[in-house]
């Protein structure tokens, strides 16, 4: 319990660092981001939003406030989840844009990441259990090679072959553009069909890491005495592999989850860009190119929160899987 509490404190602190980075970055950079943004807006837009100059000054710096003063008013604004107005989606609020795009990304990365984890660790486990077998000699090198390729390159090749040449999957977007998003069969079916190829690509890109981690740890675990003991007792082969060696070997790779998930969130940006998939990653890229700073700030914070939440879930899972953590 104390361990979980300490983790919570750490996550709150990490969140605070992310917010502070958001605050400091535009102020540390040469030039005046807020001035640049206001210069791009028409005078009519500024006139119709009385507080907008002040809002941007507060978010991006350049006003006449002192740094400390500006920091506290910034924290207050973030606390109210007010990120300002997205200039590239004028006059929509940043929080509204995020609310619209984030579900697509969570769906994509959530499904793909769980698939990658399950498939990767299973292959790694089997490969280590039967060293030099078919899985170890054929499947593992293939997965590693696929994982080593940059995700955006794999997805470009996949779009070309499976989308364009073979016509198995739709090429772009998250659903047929004639449909309006909503809870009906036509939309869900279309969304599912469009998500297939991105999910396959992300899964293949990230399964390789799990395979390698799991295989390495499993090879060492197999030589433990309790595995030999289980075999000597005459337990079925599969039960020894999963319940004795596998269950213990899975813990170290799980602890690498943080880095893996942060990586997956990054890879998502590239894959959404390739597929023009209207998720948070594609939106971030568009916002960054279009210097829509309120939106990029909001999205960076959202990504950080997603990684933190995923880490926390993994901590909870660790408590369930590893009894030693509970007593510590």
């Amino acid at each position: 319990m104390r361990w979980l509490l300490r983790r919570c404190c750490f996550y709150v602190f990490a969140l605070w660092v992310a917010v502070t980075l958001n605050f400091l970055l535009p102020r540390l950079m040469p030039g005046d981001p807020a001035g640049g943004m206001l210069a791009r807006m028409s005078s009519a837009q500024i006139a119709s939003n009385p507080g907008i100059i002040e809002t941007y000054r507060r978010m991006l710096g350049g006003g006449d406030q002192s740094l400390l003063e500006a920091y506290f008013s910034y924290l207050g604004q973030i606390g109210r989840l007010d990120f300002g107005i997205s200039t590239s989606n004028y006059p929509t609020n940043v929080s509204e844009v995020i609310g619209r795009t984030l579900p697509y990304s969570i769906f994509l990365v959530g499904v793909a990441f769980i698939l990658a984890f399950v498939i990767g660790t299973t292959i790694g486990m089997v490969a280590a259990w039967r060293r030099g077998g078919t899985v170890d000699n054929v499947v593992v090198p293939t997965m590693l090679a696929l994982g080593a390729f940059p995700a955006f390159f794999t997805s470009l090749v996949a779009v070309y072959f499976f989308g364009l040449k073979l016509g198995w999957f739709p090429l772009q977007h998250a659903y047929d553009t004639e449909l309006t998003p909503g809870f009906n069969y036509a939309f869900l079916e279309s969304a599912f069909r469009h998500a297939q190829l991105p999910i396959i690509v992300i899964t293949l890109a990230f399964a390789g890491g799990w395979v390698l981690n799991m295989r390495t740890v499993m090879i060492n675990t197999i030589e433990e005495d309790y595995v030999a003991m289980a075999e000597a007792k005459g337990l079925p082969d599969r039960r020894v592999m999963t319940r004795y060696a596998g269950r213990n070997a899975i813990l170290p790779p799980l602890n690498g989850f943080a880095a893996q998930f942060a990586g997956a969130v990054g890879g998502l940006v590239f894959i959404e860009f390739v597929f023009s998939y209207p998720g948070a990653g594609f939106t971030l890229q568009q916002a960054a190119l279009g210097s829509d700073y309120p939106l990029t700030q909001g999205l960076l914070l959202v990504f950080a929160v997603c990684v933190i939440v995923a880490n926390f879930v993994m901590d909870l899972l660790n408590v369930v899987l590893d009894p030693r953590v509970r007593t510590a």
Partner: protein, 330 residues
């Protein structure tokens, strides 16, 4: 422990790797440094080294290998598939992709190498300092590292580079190096921790050597192989990250690099028009380099961890000669 006797323990700390060199190999490749002989004797890292050195050679020879000016627009030559005149075809604007990839090799490798060097210097300094000093220094550095690991790198880089007025090589190296150090610092800290309580370090401390001297002359020489492995890992990641940023249109877009060529292929929707050459060639160049680095890493792992090698039963006969540690008990 007696200070006088302990003092003599320090020089006897020989790196473990020396014992692993099979004598037959050592005789066949004279004149090469030990680490290179070791890497060349492992089939994976030998392959990887060949690929990576090949790519570096392309980068160095870029002015002689390029057949066209990589920026020369020519709408008459636009959208050509590969031919003898344009080895890798041309883009929608009629620029020569072969020349772009060749020049891009030089810039991409330089950017990745420089960023990896910066990240490694930071990571090695912080990681070793944390492990050696312990106490609040360790807590602080470890905490900062963990915080950095939780903030997703790619979005952070995207946001940072969107604030940059000009995205020249120097600023890209800086922001890449400053974001990629964290996981490397974690690896190196863990490895420095295992060395920290070895006898030769204790001996040096008892002998009264100052901290900086212990770190630089006692710890560093024994960490060098681990730092090199971590460097290869970061090199591979910074290559991918830099190319990825350029692919998103957020790198140094005025220079030639693999990512920039890929960005224009994506912006011109080359894939949707059925043009495979604008994205295939720069992508393969990047993937090949990355594969080479991954192979070097895999070889390094096998050299230092005998358990990961193929079980001896499998390799006996014609392949067995290729593997290190053959005929030696595990």
């Amino acid at each position: 422990m007696q200070p006088i006797g302990a003092d003599e323990a320090a020089p006897s700390a020989v790196p473990l790797t020396v014992q692993q060199v099979p004598t037959a190999r050592r005789r066949r490749l004279p004149g090469l440094p030990l680490w290179l002989r070791l890497l060349l004797s492992n089939p994976k890292s030998r392959m990887g080294l060949m690929i990576v050195f090949g790519m570096f050679a392309v980068g160095v020879l870029a002015p002689w290998l390029a057949t066209h000016d990589p920026t020369a627009y020519s709408l008459l030559d636009a959208k050509q598939s590969p031919s003898w005149n344009h080895f890798f075809g041309t883009t929608d604007q009629g620029t020569d992709i072969w020349s772009q990839v060749v020049w891009g090799t030089r810039n991409s490798l330089f950017l990745g190498f420089a960023a990896a060097t910066l990240a490694t210097v930071l990571a090695a300094t912080l990681g070793i300092l944390a492990a050696y000093c312990g106490g609040w220094v360790d807590d602080l550095i470890n905490f900062a590292t963990n915080v950095f690991l939780v903030i997703p790198t790619i979005p952070l880089l995207i946001v940072t580079s969107s604030y940059l007025k000009s995205r020249g090589s120097l600023s890209m190296v800086l922001i890449l190096g400053l974001t990629l150090w964290a996981f490397e610092a974690r690896i190196l800290r863990a490895q420095a921790l295992t060395l920290r309580n070895r006898d030769f370090i204790l001996a040096a401390r008892v002998a009264g050597e100052p901290t900086w001297r212990i770190v630089v002359y006692e710890l560093m020489p024994n960490m060098i192989s681990r730092i090199a492995a971590a460097f290869v890992l970061v090199f591979y990641i910074s290559l991918l990250t830099a190319a990825g940023l350029q692919f998103l249109g957020l790198g140094d877009m005025n220079s030639q690099s693999w990512g920039v060529t890929l960005y224009w292929a994506q912006v011109n929707s080359a894939v949707l028009q059925g043009e495979w050459w604008p994205f295939l060639f720069p992508g393969v160049a990047l993937a090949l380099t990355v594969l080479g680095l991954v192979l070097i890493l895999a070889g390094l792992d096998e050299v230092s961890n005998p358990r990961l090698r193929k079980p001896p039963k499998q390799g006996r006969g014609m392949i067995s000669g290729l593997f290190l540690g053959h005929g030696r008990a595990k």
